[in-house]
């Protein structure tokens, strides 16, 4: 009972926050702002009245079980899907906007690499697509392969790399054109625990360098690395806040339990 009241208070304050934010929107920089976003797939609402903001320079984790609508949100933000209603702004530009693509780095859920090309050929291709010069590509390639510790594999076919190595190259391709904002869709799915830890170290490093990150995951425990997280369920945002805040409010020890607590208070739709 106490929990439910606590949540209600929290939700009320969120509404006040929201109003305050609207007024402060000009001075405070949000790299992503989504308002009442909806996506309807022939009667199935994958995303339902979703509103959220990602502040400049933070890691925002979108958490939820499979089928919660996280990927659909990311795809709408990347311009791969047209929203059914609502609006979304990315880097202060209202979508859809063809110009914003060059400043955004998108890492799809799939590997999204050409298996028959070498590491270098993949990086060079994506670099050219983003309009980088040969010199820029070479410089970025060196830097990124050092970051993901794969300098020795430059001329290896993607096919011949291990799954973990392939994931690291996929991340490198996403970072190639020095985007200011990253959309990472389940970047740690199918990645072993060691590599997952290093991925989160990369993300934190990127954030510290001033890059904003919106990341989705269904591994609740790794979301503790995020500055703020949003719980998604059945296309809606059911709670939002810093990880520690959500743990305190739900009196739980893990984000998984916190999610379940919010799920219960929401009840079935």
């Amino acid at each position: 009972m106490r929990l439910r009241e606590a949540l209600r208070v929290r939700q009320a304050s969120a509404i006040i926050d929201e109003k305050g934010l609207v007024q402060a929107a000009v001075s405070m920089k949000d790299d992503v702002c989504i308002r009442d976003l909806e996506k309807d797939f022939g009667g199935f609402k994958a995303v339902n009245k979703l509103s959220l903001r990602v502040k400049h320079g933070e890691i925002y984790g979108l958490l939820g079980p499979n089928g919660a609508g996280k990927t659909t949100v990311i795809r709408m933000l990347c311009g791969l899907l047209r929203p059914s209603s609502g609006e979304a702004c990315v880097l202060n530009v209202k979508l859809p906007d063809p110009g914003v693509a060059s400043q955004v780095g998108y890492m799809p859920q799939e590997l999204a690499l050409y298996l028959g090309l070498t590491v270098h050929e993949n990086l060079a291709f994506y670099g050219e697509v983003f309009g980088l010069s040969k010199r820029q590509i070479d410089a970025r390639e060196q830097e990124l392969l050092r970051l993901v510790d794969l300098e020795a594999s430059r001329d290896t076919l993607i096919d011949q790399l291990s799954g973990g190595m392939q994931h690291r190259i996929s991340l490198a391709c996403t970072l190639l054109h020095e985007p200011q904002l990253l959309f990472l869709d389940e970047p740690t799915v199918g990645v072993d625990p060691d590599l997952r830890a290093s991925f989160w170290r990369y993300f934190e490093g990127l954030r510290d360098a001033g890059i904003t990150i919106l990341v989705t995951t269904h591994y609740m425990d790794e979301a503790r690395h995020c500055d703020r997280i949003g719980f998604m369920r059945e296309g809606r945002l059911i709670a939002e806040g810093a990880p520690r805040e959500l743990l305190e409010l739900t009196h739980t020890d893990s984000l998984e339990d916190a999610f379940l607590a919010y799920s219960r208070t929401e009840g079935p739709q």
Partner: protein, 376 residues
């Protein structure tokens, strides 16, 4: 061995199939399609071939042997037109609006009868019907020659006495000494490029979709039209190289006749490759996996193989089935490439085929771009 367990496997396989409509269609519709096309197209004889008769015979109409022969020409096979001027008639064959000119010499009836009465001084050329045919398509030229010979035999036999009429078909307007292989190679090259390019694009694009690379590209500054154009350039180049190799083998191995500008033929084939590429992208949206993409193959290959004039001419395809031939881009490519290699035609004469291919290419590429722009 336990029957019930084997039975469980059987049930699983059949259930799987029930949910896979595409394979079901393949199992039932594809063989039907093949059977029908083969059955109908193979039994079809050449029909409605336009020939021009130039009758210089000056005999009285009532007793004219030439008119009798003309009336005995099989009008199922030949669509007979007349002209008084041999030069005009030949020009019509040269520009492709007719397949042959049948010329009767000026003293034909008189000479044939004179010879039959034992006058040996009659010049042989006066008793000879000259057949000037476009032999670039052997499957059309042979039935024309056969039809003329048949009419001559029928007429002379009905005259009741021994008449000697010669038919000279040795002078060809196009394709002198053309063999089946000369006619077949340009056709099969077009169909090979069509088939391979469609399949490669299809598989490659299904791969772009399933591996996620397409998502990365569509979320990048790359425009959909640039993606389609990039693919078109690549496959245009592959198609040209492929046809160059095939044509070289044709020349070296089979010594095929090439009288026209090979570069023009390559241009036509590159255009066909671009059409195929557009089709491949369009089909890729219908398949989710590579395995499903392969199943489109019979539908892409068979009609092109059977109905675009590779083995037998469009003239031999039943009239009701011809519209299918005319919606196949390969029909125009086969015709154009053959006209270049065997007739030596230039762009001034093959432009209708080239325009048709350009229309196919633009429609397919625009549709492919629009398809990639879909965001719902």
């Amino acid at each position: 061995m336990k029957v019930s367990r084997a039975f469980a496997v059987t049930k699983r396989v059949l259930r799987d199939l029930k949910n896979d409509r595409r394979t079901l269609v393949l199992i039932f519709v594809a063989p039907l399609l093949v059977m029908t096309i083969f059955g109908v197209a193979f039994t079809g004889d050449v029909k409605d071939v336009r020939v021009i008769v130039v009758n210089n015979d000056i005999a009285a109409a009532s007793s004219s042997l030439s008119d009798k022969i003309i009336s005995n020409l099989d009008t199922n096979v030949l669509n007979v037109a007349y002209s008084n001027n041999e030069g005009d008639a030949v020009a019509q064959v040269q520009n492709g609006s007719a397949y042959a000119v049948i010329v009767f010499p000026s003293h034909f009836t008189q000479s044939v009868q004179a010879r039959a009465s034992g006058q040996t001084s009659v010049a042989q050329e006066n008793t000879t019907i000259s057949l000037l045919a476009d032999k670039s398509n052997v499957n059309v030229a042979n039935p024309i020659i056969a039809a003329v010979n048949k009419a001559v035999v029928q007429t002379t036999q009905s005259q009741g006495r021994q008449l000697t009429v010669l038919v000279d078909a040795s002078n060809a307007i196009y394709g002198a000494n053309a063999r089946f292989i000369d006619f077949f190679v340009p056709g099969i090259i077009s169909v090979a490029v069509w088939q391979l390019t469609t399949l490669l694009t299809l598989i490659s694009f299904v791969g772009e979709r399933s591996s996620g690379t397409l998502f990365r590209l569509l979320a990048s500054p790359l425009k959909e039209s640039e993606l389609v154009a990039g693919y078109a350039l690549a496959f245009g180049a592959i198609g040209t190289t492929q046809s160059a190799v095939l044509l070289a083998v044709g020349v070296l191995l089979f010594n095929i006749t090439i009288v026209g500008n090979v570069i023009l033929a390559f241009g036509v084939i590159a255009l066909l490759a671009i059409v195929s590429e557009g089709l491949g992208i369009l089909l890729s949206s219908l398949a989710r996996r590579e395995a499903q993409a392969i199943q489109f193959l019979p539908f892409v290959v068979l009609p092109a193989f059977l109905l675009s004039g590779v083995f037998w001419p469009i003239e031999a395809i039943p009239t009701w089935l011809r519209p299918v031939s005319y919606v196949l881009p390969t029909t125009y490519a086969v015709e154009a490439v053959r006209s270049v290699t065997l007739r030596g035609w230039g762009l001034d004469k093959i432009y209708p085929d080239v325009v048709a291919l350009l229309i196919f290419a633009s429609v397919f590429l625009v549709l492919a771009t629009l398809l990639l722009r879909r965001r719902d």
